[in-house]
Symmetry: C2
DNA sequence: CAATGTGAATTCTTTCACAGCC
DNA sequence: GGCTGTGAAAGAATTCACATTG
């Protein structure tokens, strides 16, 4: 479910505030979804709430983490050490819940050999080596569009199981690999549509699973 | 439609290659969607293909641009001049088809006054002024999570019609404003789910319009 | 003949509404 | 009384299949 990370973050906040119990209505409102939708989402994780009371925050948080398979170590390799690669490497979302940016690769000689926030930048040609050495199953593409296809294939050949691609344009998934394409420019282009019509609304991006 | 920008990019590529005609099957395959889905998407723009032949690339491209209201000038203001703000300000997706990053704002004294790729970085307090001066209707939030709510409200107060929020956590839309929340960390967390189960597939992110 | 555009069917998602439990 | 979990209804999105058109 694409909404689980959203719930996870809210639970993190509640937990930090020592809130012990939360109802589906409260959590749903904070997440910007319908309460019934939230309850159905959570019911997929097994029975996790108590009727009349609500959800136990630490327990629910743990169940969400288990569903997302967080909690174990998830070393990530990012291809592309430009501004986007830097931003992702330093972001909390890529370095929490077991996720951890283990290495960056690039082809720019000025970048290769530098260290970003404690993470070394290696050459793209070392990708296979790095993936094996760090036991990496997740790759991220933050390169220009024309390099994306090649990089995804390299990730796949190295044995990565899933790739998050930020380069614009559709990249097909090599067999055995899940590829998720996120086009930041496209997100903005969709907004021009709404701004032109000016029909106010709230959206949460996240592709349908399948 | 969230897929129109995807089609737009493919048409751009075909146009550059001087391809004059394309069939729904070809275009759908390149975009990673079903041909019937593509045809229905395009039929919303009005009749634009010729049976027996296919779609005229330049003409279709123009129709997609019109549907997305591209072609006119879309000045964008980005809040947050960290690595992500830099990446977005320089990206082609934010600077094509009429879209144009006109200004950046930050609160860091080290950033304010600098120039990024020809775009000046001003102080957050000048946001209202900048939005009016550039006639901005689109805002982008690339700040830390704790600042996002405040910045969105500032954008709204300044009269922006739509905001793209990259800060994690749901930000509710002030009345009259469309807010699109994109959480890059969440995209990666969803991939852990697939990597753990290792069921290969391709996904294209993009929230359902609502 | 080849390929669009679209009713009809299918599938997926969201929401309602309420039985059951605390 | 309040709230969860879920069957059933409603609503969207996708896909099929074909009449229609160049």
């Amino acid at each position: 479910m694409a909404r689980l990370p959203q719930y996870r973050r809210l639970l993190e906040v509640l937990d930090a505030r020592k809130v012990v119990t939360v109802s589906s209505v409260e959590l749903a409102e904070a997440a910007g979804v319908n309460a019934a939708t939230l309850r159905r989402d959570l019911s997929c994780l097994g029975t996790c709430g108590t009727p009349g009371t609500g959800y136990d925050v630490p327990r629910l948080r743990e169940m969400v983490d288990r569903a997302l398979a967080l909690g174990r170590d998830w070393p990530v390799v990012i291809a592309g050490a430009g501004y986007l690669g830097h931003a992702l490497a330093r972001s909390r979302g890529f370095n929490s819940g077991g996720l951890r940016v283990a290495a960056l690769v690039d082809i720019d000689p000025l970048q290769v050999g530098t260290v970003v926030d404690g993470i070394p930048v290696s050459h793209l040609d070392d990708l296979d080596d790095l993936v094996h050495r760090h036991r990496t199953t997740l790759g991220v593409v933050a390169t220009p569009a024309n390099a994306a296809g090649d990089v995804v294939r390299r990730f796949a050949a190295a044995g990565v199981r899933a790739v998050l691609n930020f380069a614009p344009g559709f990249v097909a998934a090599p067999s055995g690999v899940t590829v998720r394409n996120v086009d930041l420019g496209a997100e903005l282009q969709v907004l021009t549509f709404y701004a032109a019509r000016s029909a106010p609304s709230v959206e949460v991006a996240g592709g349908p699973p399948g």
